[in-house]
């Protein structure tokens, strides 16, 4: 019976597919795709003006416009596909979005600006090999990295999302994506998100910042539990990931190496004066709930994982290496909580520290010592495993440095003494 049902479902789906039709309004690199079934006698297109084609509220100039009716086309509602490569990128967009999106193409650089009238979430799917993608708008959006390589050559990031709302970043399962800027980039990172970023999907993205940071978000970044992919920061002139407001890691893997600044730097979101932290209830914090972080820093006075405010590590696996003078594996501006109060787990979270640097002397004479963990206020160690790489240059008793009160009520310390 099950087999018959499956057959019927497949057969019905095949029949459904036979009847898909689309009308493509083609203008150079941009194709606006309409579901032909929505353009019936009640929604006529008109060329009565002799100079424009009107489709709904949209007026396309006839000059440079061709139409193609595809009897087997499949309309994708609220979706814009950008495929890089060839002589010019190809953009295929849901025709109903034409009144709201302005698309421009310059070599392998694509820029899309969404009008303030747009009130539906649009998905932008990127694939192929190109230079840059710039998205400007005011409504939450989804950007899908569907096997795209963006290597910018100009003054903008390779992936530049100028939108202060929630941005879903989806890495398609099984794809490898590349985002790399040029040394001439004048914006602060190769992969820039003005708003708050939420990562999902199962692919890999390799990011390199040749000007400043590799990745940055002006508001929070959250690695969702549904993210099973890998973010590789392959190098940066400054921080690997520079995040404002807060970072939550719920899954996936983040590998950061070859940075000249911090591996992951989470700082306060500031008011316009750039001095006063915003009064958001969560600001400057890091919370690692799950996932894997492999972070290493080699430069002097840098941190593998840094928060301006408090940090919670309640799950997941962190392996951090601090090789530079004055560098830290984990550096916390206020309190650090490891594990969960009352838990007897001595394996999760797992934190493995390697600290090999010496003392860094700043130009003003201040000195900073390399440490595994530096906490500006209090440490609460409730559960999990905190382990020192036995080959670390920094001794067991110097591995964790707490300015306030250390509280150890559970978990396991391996090769580490907390005074």
């Amino acid at each position: 019976m099950k087999r018959i049902s499956l057959f019927l479902i497949l057969a019905l789906c095949a029949v459904c597919g036979l009847y898909a039709q689309t009308l493509d309004v083609c203008q150079g690199s941009v194709t606006w795709r309409y579901d032909a079934n929505t353009l019936d006698a009640g929604s006529k297109m008109s060329v009565a003006s002799g100079t424009t084609l009107s489709v709904g509220t949209m007026e396309f100039p006839l000059s440079g416009t061709t139409l193609r009716v595809n009897p087997t086309g499949t309309p994708e509602p609220l979706t814009v596909e950008v495929h890089y490569g060839g002589s010019t990128p190809q953009i295929i967009a849901d025709g109903t979005l034409a009144p709201y999106l302005k698309c421009s193409v310059d070599r392998q650089n694509v820029s899309i600006t969404a009008s303030t009238d747009l009130s539906q979430e649009v998905t932008y799917r990127l694939s192929g090999v190109g230079e840059s993608f710039t998205l400007t708008g005011d409504y939450k959006s989804t950007v899908v990295l569907d096997g795209v390589t963006l290597q910018a050559t100009g003054t903008t990031p390779a992936l530049y999302i100028v939108n202060g709302k929630r941005i879903d970043l989806q890495c398609t399962d099984g794809t490898t994506n590349v985002v790399e800027d040029a040394a001439t980039n004048t914006v602060k990172s190769a992969f820039y998100v003005k708003g708050h970023a939420e990562w999902k999907g199962g692919g890999t993205v390799n990011i390199t910042g040749n000007a400043r940071h590799a990745y940055s978000s002006n508001e929070y970044t959250e690695i969702k539990a549904s993210f099973t992919g890998v973010i590789n920061i392959l190098g940066a002139k400054n921080d690997g990931m520079h995040i404002e407001q807060y970072l939550i890691v719920n899954g996936g893997t983040i590998n950061v190496s070859h940075t000249q600044g911090d591996a992951i730097d989470v700082s306060y979101a500031m008011e316009d004066d750039e001095v006063t932290p915003t009064n958001d209830s969560i600001n400057g914090q890091v919370h690692v709930k799950n996932g894997v972080l492999n972070l290493s820093v080699n430069a002097d006075d840098t941190k593998a994982l840094k928060s301006d405010d408090s940090m919670w590590i309640t799950g997941g696996r962190i392996e951090a290496i601090a090789n530079g003078d004055g560098s830290r594996c984990i550096n916390v501006g206020l309190d650090l909580t490891i594990g969960t109060k009352g838990s007897t787990d001595q394996t999760n979270p797992y934190i493995y520290l390697t600290a090999n640097g010496g003392t860094y002397t700043a130009p003003d004479g201040d000195t900073t010592k390399c440490r595994g963990i530096k906490v500006k206020r209090n440490l609460y160690f409730y559960s999990g495993l905190l382990k020192r790489n036995p080959e670390s240059a920094v001794s067991s008793s110097k591995m964790v440095d707490v300015d306030g009160l250390p509280t150890v009520s559970g978990g396991k310390l391996d090769g580490i003494t907390i005074n």
């Binding site: 019976m1 049902s5 019927l8 479902i9 019905l12 789906c13 029949v15 459904c16 009847y19 898909a20 039709q21 009308l23 032909a36 079934n37 353009l39 019936d40 006698a41 929604s43 006529k44 297109m45 008109s46 060329v47 009565a48 002799g50 084609l53 006839l62 000059s63 416009t65 061709t66 139409l67 193609r68 009716v69 595809n70 009897p71």
Partner: protein
């Protein structure tokens, strides 16, 4: 099992809806004449030199932009009577030729017709112009 039946029913209804999908593109010119092209092999439409050209696998439609008005998609092609009713004055001379070259009507056009045509494509000449028209029988 109940879930499976419900799923099948939903898919069946979807199929029924899709079965009504458009199959023709219809063009309306200033004189009120409608012309339909089948979508089956796709249609390419261009605008150049003051003319619109629509090319389909089974034929093409050309018209000066000054004479073009609207376009839309339809489930059925415009029938011979619907195509000519508004655009050909009663009593005009009309010649209807099938794609096999056989002449089906040559004489004075009447809305009542008095003749019938099987489904198919026909060339209709009236007023010095020739149009391609699809005839589709309504159920």
């Amino acid at each position: 099992m109940k879930k499976t039946i419900l799923t099948l029913a939903a898919l069946a209804s979807l199929t029924a809806a899709k079965a009504d999908s458009v199959k023709y593109m219809t063009f309306l010119t200033a004189d009120g004449t409608e012309h339909s092209l089948s979508l089956s092999g796709g249609i390419d439409i261009s605008f150049s030199n003051g003319e619109m050209v629509a090319k389909a696998v089974d034929g093409e439609f050309r018209a000066p932009l000054t004479e073009m008005r609207d376009m839309w998609f339809a489930i059925e092609a415009t029938s011979i009577h619907e195509a000519l009713a508004d655009g050909v004055a009663e009593g005009s001379t009309v010649k209807i030729v099938g794609m096999d070259g056989r002449t089906h009507l040559e004489g004075v056009w009447s809305k009542d017709g008095g003749f019938d045509l099987p489904e198919g494509v026909y060339l209709v000449t009236t007023g010095g112009k020739t149009y391609k028209v699809f005839v589709k029988k309504r159920p």
